[in-house]
């Protein structure tokens, strides 16, 4: 529920899927579910590398992002 996190002034917030399964979707086939989880976690890692000034919502992309550089 990104709205609560933003209201509580969490500075970097990533939108998850749903309360019962924030980091994936059991209704998807396994491969697609793993990919979704990866996109969500990668968005979080990307957010950690992003300067922010105010509480900011990061939306995972619909398609897989470019592989995040290790350095």
């Amino acid at each position: 529920m990104p709205a609560i996190a933003l209201a509580a002034n969490a500075n970097r917030v990533v939108r998850g899927v749903q309360v019962q399964h924030p980091c994936g979707d059991p209704k998807l086939p396994e491969e697609a579910d793993r990919d979704l989880s990866r996109r969500i976690v990668s968005t979080a890692l990307s957010a950690l590398q992003t300067p922010v000034i105010v509480p900011t919502l990061f939306d995972p992309p619909a398609a897989a992002p470019e592989r995040i550089s290790a350095s």
């Binding site: 529920m1 990104p2 709205a3 939108r15 899927v17 749903q18 019962q20």
Partner: protein, 433 residues
């Protein structure tokens, strides 16, 4: 729509040889009523007790609070749709009601852990909500009504949902039999509620949030929360005429995993009735919008809020009063409704309990409302008491001895509340010091 409410006041309930109402006394044939209840083989035990205002008595294990009503004329039945009742649209003709009287089904708390649900219940402890009939702690509206308690224990093998269905069926059977005692009798008074819009007045709507049990109990037909014409499913908002609500179209309490809260009575007897009575004076009461909550994705909450706001503006409303139920994640649904109405140009007032301020560490609401929205506080869920020891405790199942003693004043703390007053039926509020 136009509805007549014919009042049959009850000052006293006596157990006797027949079930009838005369001169403000309701006589109840206990055996007749209990036979009705025991017809269902899934009822393991049933008993009837009555509590009068002023008695040194405390009522516990309450499952719901209902004012018995019957349609004297007009289509449909009171409390339509619940557990298979007729679904014809109600809200017109004449409805007989027992004023100053409630039927309270009571059922023992379940050890719901065996169904995989989380519970804080500890057997043998004075745990849960309670209602005092006298003393400084008698602050609920039901301290002033005569309450007939139907103590009912469904078959212990039943899971919470089917058990609740048994209770609701018994409650409806009893309420029908009791209310039928008014048919053919002249009422003490008749109130005419004619909601024909008058020209030149602003239009108001009432928007209430109701939790859908479907995502919690994984059953779209779950009975464990408030129904609209018997439906509890997580759907888009419902639009009803206010008089439909007065006929019980929205009814049933919410099972919060430990005990039941947010009863039927305030829906028929508090804010909607009040707004109907003020219709045509300063405003036109255009409709009631029931917003189902428990959507688990932010976007879905916003979508439903937008639909509720569209219903309001399509009706021509320029003002809205909004009430929540739960104040946690479901408060987001309610706040989304408030925001959508405000953005649509509808003046909005929110009635809500507020969070314990934790000595200044916590803000009063989980999420903020837009500045323009007016807010009425119904307190923080705490109640000052004191709640003195009582001579009599009424409740289903074994009564923990601790219930007879003085009760510590309940503290409001995220989600806990003594009165569960989301409708503003009490005078409690918090103010700044």
């Amino acid at each position: 729509m136009r509805l007549e409410l014919a009042a049959y006041p009850v000052d006293e309930v006596r157990f006797g040889t027949s079930t009838r109402w005369r001169d403000r006394v309701l006589e109840v044939d206990r055996d007749e009523i209990l036979d009705l209840v025991r017809r269902d083989p899934l009822v393991a035990r049933a008993a009837l007790e009555v509590a009068h205002p002023g008695e040194s008595a405390r009522i516990v294990t309450i499952q719901d609070i209902i004012e018995p009503r019957v349609k004297a004329t007009g289509p449909g039945v009171a409390y339509p749709g619940l557990v298979g009742r007729a679904v014809e649209t109600v809200g017109s003709g004449r409805t007989n009601r027992f004023a100053g009287f409630t039927l309270m089904p009571c059922t023992p708390p379940q050890d719901v852990q065996r169904y995989g649900l989380i519970s804080s219940f500890r057997p043998g402890t004075a745990y849960g909500d309670f209602l005092d009939m006298s003393g400084p702690g008698a602050i609920s509206p039901w301290a002033a009504t005569v309450n007939l308690c139907l103590l009912i224990e469904p078959d212990p093998g039943l899971a919470p949902d089917p058990a609740n269905r048994v209770i609701q069926q018994a409650t409806m059977a009893v309420q029908d039999r009791l209310a039928a005692a008014t048919l053919g009798e002249p009422p003490a008074d008749v109130e005419v509620l004619d909601l024909t819009p008058r020209p030149g007045l602003p239009g108001f709507v009432y928007v209430h949030s109701i939790v859908s049990p479907e995502p919690i109990y994984l059953n779209p037909d779950s009975t464990l929360s408030t129904a609209v014409y018997g439906i509890t499913r997580l759907t888009q908002p419902w639009l009803l005429h206010p008089t439909e609500v007065l006929d019980g179209a929205v009814c049933g309490s919410f099972f919060s995993g430990d005990f039941y809260r947010w009863f039927t009575w305030p829906l028929t007897n508090s804010i909607v009735l009040h707004m109907c009575r003020r219709h045509g004076v300063d405003f036109n009461f255009l409709g009631c919008i029931m917003v189902r909550t428990m959507w688990e994705e932010q976007r879905q909450k916003e979508l439903m809020a937008n639909r509720a706001a569209l219903m309001a503006t399509t009706l021509g409303a320029t003002g809205a009063i909004v009430t929540p139920t739960l104040r946690g994640q479901r408060m987001l649904d309610t706040m989304a409704v408030v925001r959508a109405l405000d953005n649509a140009g509808v003046k909005t007032v929110l009635i809500t309990e507020e969070e314990d301020d934790e000595d200044g560490a916590a803000p009063p609401l989980l999420v903020t409302a837009p500045e323009r929205v007016g807010i009425v506080s119904t307190g923080d869920g705490s109640a000052p008491g004191p709640f003195s020891p009582v001579e009599r405790v009424i409740g289903a199942g074994p009564i923990a001895p601790a219930w007879y003693a003085a009760q510590p004043p309940p503290l409001g703390r995220y989600g806990t509340s003594h009165l569960n007053d989301v409708w503003g039926f009490s005078r409690l509020a918090c103010v700044d010091y």
